[in-house]
């Protein structure tokens, strides 16, 4: 958590990203985001624009995307606000990457429920595939991060890879997901438990059983 840092502002970084500008598609989205707020309050759209900028950087580099300093400056100019305020936002939220990441950003939850349900195995499985915490693999495919609770405790353990969550994992199931991603396929997001759809209880409902087939009014029974 405390190891987040800004990518140093070097001449190379400036050379690579100094000319950054939204392309037509992201520009349209950025305009739409700004239009959600009253005139003069355009800086309220800073979070959306940082996200769009990160995604465009991702498209240009074929990774999940990140926010180089010149890109943050571009967003600041775009919204006519001080750069330091943009950097404050970007450094606060963990979904903005401050350093380059790989094609897939594997974020393994290690908070208590996931830990109890075997996140250590998940982490080990990632390491087995050559990933290191906080690093990108040499082929540029995987970046591994350990994160705090992502709110999927009922289907723990979980990982978040780019925009999708993969839940109810075991080492094997994670391997299958990662293999599919590496092969360019799109594995099913969400729970990986066969027969489970979301976070309903395993083995069928244990409460409100009458509601499964029909709309039952419980109120009289209280």
């Amino acid at each position: 958590m405390a190891d987040r840092h800004l990518e140093p502002d070097t001449p190379e970084l400036r050379a690579r990203w100094g000319g950054f500008a939204f392309n037509a598609a992201w520009e349209a989205k950025a305009r739409a985001a700004i239009a959600r707020y009253p005139a003069g309050r355009q800086r309220s759209a800073v979070m959306a624009l940082l996200d769009y900028a990160q995604r465009q950087v991702g498209e240009e580099t074929n990774t999940q995307g990140w926010l180089p300093i010149p890109v943050m400056e571009y967003v600041a100019t775009y919204l006519d606000m001080p750069v330091i305020r943009v950097v404050e936002v970007a450094t606060f939220y963990f979904m903005y990457n401050l350093v380059p990441v790989g094609r897939f950003h594997v974020q393994v939850c290690g908070t208590t429920p996931c830990m109890l349900r075997g996140s250590d195995d998940i982490m080990a499985a990632c390491k087995q595939r050559g990933m290191h915490k906080g690093h990108t693999t040499d082929d540029g495919m995987w970046t591994l991060t350990e994160v705090e609770c992502m709110g999927n405790c009922a289907s723990a353990p979980m990982v978040q890879i780019n925009d999708d969550n993969y839940e109810d994992l075991t080492a094997d199931r994670l391997d299958a997901v990662l293999d599919a991603l590496a092969a360019g396929k799109t594995p099913k997001a969400g729970t990986q438990e066969p027969g489970r759809h979301t976070v309903e209880p395993l083995g069928g409902p244990t409460t409100l059983t009458e509601m499964v087939t029909a709309n039952h009014d419980y109120r009289g029974e209280w």
Partner: protein
Amino acid sequence: MPKVTVDGIELEVPQGATVLQACELAGKEIPRFCYHERLSIAGNCRMCLVEVKPGPPKPQASCALPAAEGQEIRTDSPMVKTAREGVMEFLLINHPLDCPICDQGGECDLQDQSMAYGRGGSRYHEHKRAVTEKYMGPLIKTAMTRCIHCTRCVRFSEEIAGVDEIGALYRGEAMQITTYLEKAASHEMSANVIDLCPVGALTSRPYAFEARPWELKKTLSIDVSDACGANIRLDSRGREVLRILPRINDDVNEEWISDKARFQVDGLTRRRLDKPWIRRDGKLTAATWAEAFAAVARVKPGKDVAVIAGDLVDCETMFAAKKLAGALGSSLLEGRQTGMDYDTSNLAAVSFNTTFSGIETADAIVIVGSNLRIEAPLVQVRIRKAVKAGAKVFIVGPEWETTYPAIWLGTDLAVLGKLPQAADDVLSAAARPALILGGAGFAKGALGASLALAEKYKLVRDGWNGFNGLHLAAARMGGLMLGYAQQGGIADLVAAKPKLVLSLGADEADYTRFAGSIVVYIGHHGDKGAHAADIILPAAAFTEKAGTYVNTEGRVQFAEKAVFAPGDAREDWTILRALADALGVNVGFDSFEQLRAAMIAEVPALGVEGLADYGALPKAPKAKATGSIETYPIKDFYLTNPIARASETMQRCSAELLHGEDFAEAAE
């Protein structure tokens, strides 16, 4: 007016007051770190917890809680005591125990409040957080491990200075205060964050490891680096003034001072004139006082004497020189060294009539030829407040970086005769319109046209005088009150071809125009004036003599003497008194008290602390302003006077902040 009860004391508090303010009104001390009267409320240090009924059964942050009718506030209950102890313990978890090597020691809010409200012992055995050093420029030394994240510095730079350069990056325990990309903070008021910082995270870099606060003698004084007359405190030890801090005066500087006022202090010990010098065969050679006085006497000036007053001198010095010149039969006095010759027959037309606190309430402001940020940072802060409250600002002159939205009316002064429609509409509709005429405006002769504009838009109305002159020299208004102004400015002195020119620390004047005269320089620094002088009489700087100063508002203020002048240097008035003997005339005073009494007898306003009354504005002359303002008089904010030019700190600021030289150090 809600009625509240604080620890059983019932009192009425103003509408909109917070619980913290209510407690203060009741005489209860509430510990705090993030709360500051002049900044917005953040509510993030949690030190000001109190118990409030009605409300949730838990302590509440009093700084962010509005006082409401019927509240029962307790600041002395067991809940409050344990809450404070808890907050203090959390704050100290990540605060290093390096008070013995911390410059804030002895004047540290955290130190004091942990003594008063803390537990007295630590239960924390884990590792403490450490934060990498942040570079904040030549003035601010950082030790960010000590930071308790009160964000006062962030709020100051955003709200008061108007330059968003400090921010809080990352979050939670990893939060770090830094300037953007660790660039130097470059605002003219940036060092005020040192005073604001409640711990030792931001301390003064030039003053690092110099002294402990309890060793210092504190003297009340007045700043001379600009014409605002900021109230300052001189902290001295032995014969040296070690630092300058602001004093609170809501009428003048609130509690801020500019970086130059604060850090030119090291210039007071460098390039000092500490013995008399006489020019022999074109070279200055050291001499004794007797030799120097004899050399002056040999000039036998008769009544061919002229006096040029410098920008930093006090009224007493100017009055003593005036008496001396008068005794010799001359009234050739001038303080406007750069050749300005605006009309001074009515001082109301050249003073800041609205007053600094008044300009905050203006709703339309026209600035003529002034780069306020570097000419008067304290006024700039006030105008920012006015703009925040809805005032519109129009500026005539070359563009500079304002910290608020302003409309530029071009550089041509003819615009004063006929304002563009937008400005005309705003000024006509304004209830409290104001005009500020700056140094460049005075120099270009815009005074008449500005007065005409004041008449046209009724800048003077019931209870409101919107006409303001903004000077650059601390001595200017005092000099004008004492008659240091000729009809044609300094050109009159040149035309009179005086045998003897007395220069009272005048370093901006062009002495090549006095080639035929003997120039006697009575000043404290070996600067431009001393280089041109034939005889140098070493005098006292503003910290080394008591004196009266009048700021650009016409506010008379008294400064006290902190230390003695170095070497053979003497207080200015004693030199002038001795010169009178050398020249064989009588000036009518033998002591400082007599001098001051004579001065007050002649100009009574100088004896009363506070605003001098200059009467009503004169009728506007028919003159039309022509020409255009191409530049502003101050080229280098950090090097405007001989003290600042001698200061290593100011030289480095100038090189690094204005000329972009790279001094950035690697993290320690």
